[in-house]
């Protein structure tokens, strides 16, 4: 390709790269455009509107009146509304801590047989609660927890008949009962996730610990736990989000009752916006819930992802 201009031409690759950069700038955005448009229309716009609505008093039909931060003030002073947030935190105990702790215990115990046929079957079975809709889990457990349900039947069978009650209808046990439903849904996921994480921990570490005479507990604390940091982080994040944003299970089992005992923010938003026609208040609670989830999740991510891998 010798010619008059050849000497001034840049090497092929460099010329190609410089020409490619400006082209791929808008081409890249063109590729991202459909996703961005759908996301902006159906996620970002409603999110911003929620923030806007939260400053108004609106019943969804007529005109809206600006009331500034009144909804937020009411959120923190109204005992029933702030109780819903407390309930969400209580649910974290059941939806999150119980599955993670139990999952750790179980995964640690079955580590040795993780490749056996039994474990393979278990992998499928333990995932069933994650595959069915949460509504179905709610319906199943509502029946199990009722006065004539299986739970009471089992309690009577082992002689604890005095403890039987309508678990979801009793003021003191309703929220923990809902928590049990959530724990049932999450425990399989956590166990399998932690088990999968454990399989990545180098076996020679365990061999060495055994040779040094370490028992199972010591093994767990020094090898298993640190090695599972990321998986624990994921488990906790996923389950905390599901506890804070819970809607399906409670809608189907207790509708927030008895009284206000199992009301959670997700359900309260729905009732406020669509049944009580208080769109402004619902939006304020929605903003609070969104911020709350972020506040809970970010520290967990920070703690468990810091460059261990």
């Amino acid at each position: 390709m010798a010619g008059p201009l050849a000497a001034t031409a840049e090497p092929a690759t460099e010329r190609g790269r410089r020409r490619r950069r400006p082209r791929s700038a808008w081409l890249g955005w063109l590729f991202a455009l459909p996703a961005v448009v759908v996301y902006l229309t159906f996620v970002i716009r409603p999110l911003l509107l929620t923030v806007q609505y939260s400053f108004y008093d609106w019943n969804g039909i007529g005109a809206a009146t600006w009331i500034g931060l009144d909804n937020y003030v009411r959120l923190f002073t109204d005992s029933e509304l702030s109780a819903t947030i407390l309930h969400a935190f209580e649910l974290i105990l059941f939806f999150s801590f119980v599955p993670v702790l139990l999952g750790l215990a179980v995964a640690a115990t079955i580590r040795q047989i993780a490749q056996s046929r039994l474990a393979l079957v278990a992998r499928t079975v333990l995932f069933l609660p994650q595959v069915i809709p949460l509504v179905a889990a709610g319906i199943m457990w509502t029946w199990l927890l009722s006065t004539t349900g299986l739970v009471n039947q089992l309690l009577s069978a082992i002689g604890l008949g005095s403890l039987t009650r309508a678990w979801l209808g009793d003021f003191d046990t309703a929220l923990p009962a809902v928590g049990v439903i959530g724990a049932w849904v999450q425990i399989g996921l956590c166990t399998l996730l932690l088990l999968a994480g454990m399989s990545k921990i180098d076996n020679s570490l365990y061999e060495a610990a055994r040779l040094d005479g370490a028992g199972p507990l010591r093994e767990f604390r020094s090898i298993t736990l640190p090695g599972l940091r990321q998986e624990i982080g994921v488990c906790v994040t996923v389950t905390v989000i599901s506890a804070l944003a819970s809607f399906d299970i409670i809608y189907v089992s207790t509708q927030g009752g008895p009284g206000n005992a199992t009301m959670v923010p997700g359900l309260e938003i729905y009732y406020l916006a669509f049944a009580e026609r208080e769109v402004g208040m619902a939006s304020a609670l929605a903003v609070a819930l969104t911020v709350l989830v972020l506040l809970c999740v970010l520290p967990i991510q920070r703690l468990t992802r810091d460059g261990t891998r």
Binding site: P46, F127, I132, V135
Partner: protein
């Protein structure tokens, strides 16, 4: 591996216990469904005369064929489009890495932890003003949007692992960016695409909140939304409710059992990446 007999036994017992605990509610559902309609059976008890007809009644009452069709249509509307959009954006953010890609990606990541209740109220009025209320589009379009953060994240995570040399070689051969995407990268992304598809299918099929707020007709909802309507209408008749619930769960369970290995792998990876 140094392993004691006792540890293996404990492990096995624990595993079996956990499995029993997981399966027991399903069994209870099945057994209760066989009791005479309108009764309140005592816990887990096999009925004296099993009413297999309850399943037929529930099938007709729930209009199962229409429910299946509706859910399938919604999945067909949501999953392919989400995969395509997510892959294209993931390719842009992960491989093309145009100026501003970091900020753009961050905006998507923000949506990952967003609870749906955080936007359901304006979404309702927005869908209503679009005239889509009570149609399947009311579920399909918002879901595509709501799934974008995860889809983009997932596919970007894949494309980041693709070496630049691969694209350079293709360009030298004369490929433009679209051909690069479609002919070179997408085939290589197939495992990630399949897993994403499975996850999105599951989340669409089980979507409840959008279904009950935006669509009144159970025959236009997702399976989970239809179950909600079924419980609303027949919830006072426990055996019928159990029969209907089991029927509505069957397609999900069947698909899960057939593709179980893919499902489990996808769900595990999905949690880690997300």
């Amino acid at each position: 591996m140094i392993v004691t007999r006792r540890e293996t036994l404990t492990g096995r017992v624990l595993l079996v216990l956990l499995m029993v605990l997981t399966v027991l509610p399903f069994v209870s559902l099945f057994v209760t469904a066989l009791h005479p309609s309108g009764t309140y059976p005592d816990g887990l008890s096999w009925p004296s005369s099993p009413q297999w007809g309850n399943f037929v009644d529930a099938f007709q009452a729930a209009n199962m064929e229409r429910l299946l069709l509706s859910s399938a249509l919604i999945v067909l509307g949501v999953v392919p489009v989400s995969i395509v959009f997510g892959t294209m954006a993931g390719f842009a953010f992960g491989h093309l890495r145009m100026p501003g890609h970091r900020l753009g990606f961050l905006v998507f990541v923000l949506g990952l932890t967003l609870p749906f209740e955080g936007l359901i109220t304006p979404l309702y009025y927005q869908v209503r003003d679009m005239g889509l209320l009570n149609t399947r589009w009311a579920i399909i379009l918002p879901l595509i949007g709501l799934f974008m953060p995860f889809s983009v994240l997932w596919m970007r995570a894949h494309f980041v692992t693709m070496p630049d040399e691969l694209s350079e070689a293709a360009r030298i051969d004369g490929a433009n960016t679209w051909q690069l995407f479609w002919r070179v990268h997408v085939p290589l992304a197939r495992p990630a695409l399949t897993s994403l598809g499975i996850l999105l299918f599951l989340w669409t099929w089980n979507q409840f909140l959008l279904a009950i707020v935006l669509v009144d007709d159970p025959a236009k909802r997702t399976m989970a939304g239809a179950l909600g309507a079924f419980q609303g209408q027949w919830g006072t008749d426990i055996p019928l409710l159990c029969a209907g619930s089991l029927l509505i769960l069957t397609p999900t369970l069947a698909i899960f059992l057939i593709f179980q290995r893919r499902f489990v792998a996808a769900l595990l990876q999905g949690s880690l990446k997300g």
